[in-house]
Symmetry: C3
Subunit: 175 residues, 3 copies
């Protein structure tokens, strides 16, 4: 494979992954679907729902996010350390991953780490998309905020629903 | 744009951002200024000072860091997931971001996440610099170390002032 | 240096580092050695053993990992922000670094941050390897899980020994 084409493919695939992760944390459900192939599959190794989570099809994946990650749930999904191997119009990628989920009303924090194993495909339009994404946990842990009486949320995103504007929340906290 | 030139610009911009972040955490205030254009602007969405923080001009930015981030403040600023779009001699970049601040004497920890929206410019000397950097919080939270009586700092950087050498601190902690 | 060769070298070095870090967290001790030169040196600024840790030689490095990071120890090593400078067949790299270590039986969590300073060499077979890796801590802190009575590990890797399969652990936790 031409070395410049390979470097470009790696960079394009990285940015697909980064847009996907940003859409999750900013809850951009109308934008996230385009990063997946129509028949994409996901296989998340989280234990939050009691067993690993498998979903097939772009529309079901987006619907899952929209339903599960409402305004009460703050998520931070950080992936790095990409090991991407391009083979023509397909590619595989391994990533490190750490996530933090704060369920505000339930006063629960979930922290974890994992390694993603993804597969990517380049479409007829030249764009790379996620054909499969999945991860296996290094660990996952839960904690109740009741153990941390001083814990105070001083900002959350403006998309977090009524009264959730960062500045307002901070003003309230400072008073 | 030539694909090799574009890939080089993306790599150079990433390294500008990484030097900037490293200078912040290592408190290298004599080195950090060169990463900004003379008229750079910053717009940090932290709520620590009660409202978002806006500063204009390289010298004011460096002075802010020098004044606010003294030896009592440990900071860890981690940015990743760069989505960089180059357009000739200017570029835009979106980054994920997580930070940890430990105010040792106040016994307070601040944790947060955000997405940066930056603008970069290539100078007449060929070097890329930060023309604007700003972020919007996903969340920010504060915690008192009084909730964690077993918490023990076993190392902090040698730049942390008298007696703050990592080895000395660890020796004291182990005894 | 040819710009395409330089970009390729940077990408190859990044992937060497990422494979090394992944092998540490997944405890792949039979795979990790190939990422080091035979006479590689490490100099980790952790204070866990009371003083900084220096080891010489690929075999001693692998043996250290194998001995110290058994199934009771969960580790998450995240490096990012690579500033890599290539000079022919050698290269230097600076990285940000954050790590989390959970010693399950001892009920201790160690968190820290650092900056790596590495040196890489390209072998006669064309592969890049780590010739030296070391880091200086920004901070390191220890915490007993006794301070967090609600803390519950809901998944750990299947390599974690008998009964450590993620699904089983989660099933037990949910009951």
């Amino acid at each position: 494979m031409d070395p410049v084409e390979e470097l470009r493919a790696i960079e394009e695939i990285r940015q697909v992954k980064y847009r996907y992760l940003r859409c999750v944390d900013l809850k951009l459900w109308d934008e996230i679907g385009v990063e997946f192939t129509a028949d994409a599959t996901v296989d998340y190794g989280t234990m939050v729902y009691g067993k690993p989570l498998k979903i097939s099809g772009r529309e079901h994946i987006v619907e899952f996010f929209r339903t599960k990650l409402g305004p009460d749930i703050i998520t931070v999904h950080s992936a790095g350390q990409p090991e991407i191997i391009v083979d023509g119009g397909t590619a595989r990628g391994t990533w490190s991953f750490e996530d933090t989920v704060i369920a505000i009303e339930h006063r629960v924090v979930i922290k974890g780490a994992a390694f993603y194993r993804d597969r990517y495909e380049r479409g007829e339009d030249g764009h790379w998309r996620i054909a499969h994404t999945g991860y296996v946990r290094t660990y996952e842990a839960m904690l109740s905020l009741d153990d941390l009486p001083s814990f105070r949320l001083t900002a959350k995103p403006a998309t977090g629903g009524p009264g959730a504007d960062g500045a307002d929340v901070a003003d309230a906290a400072v008073r």
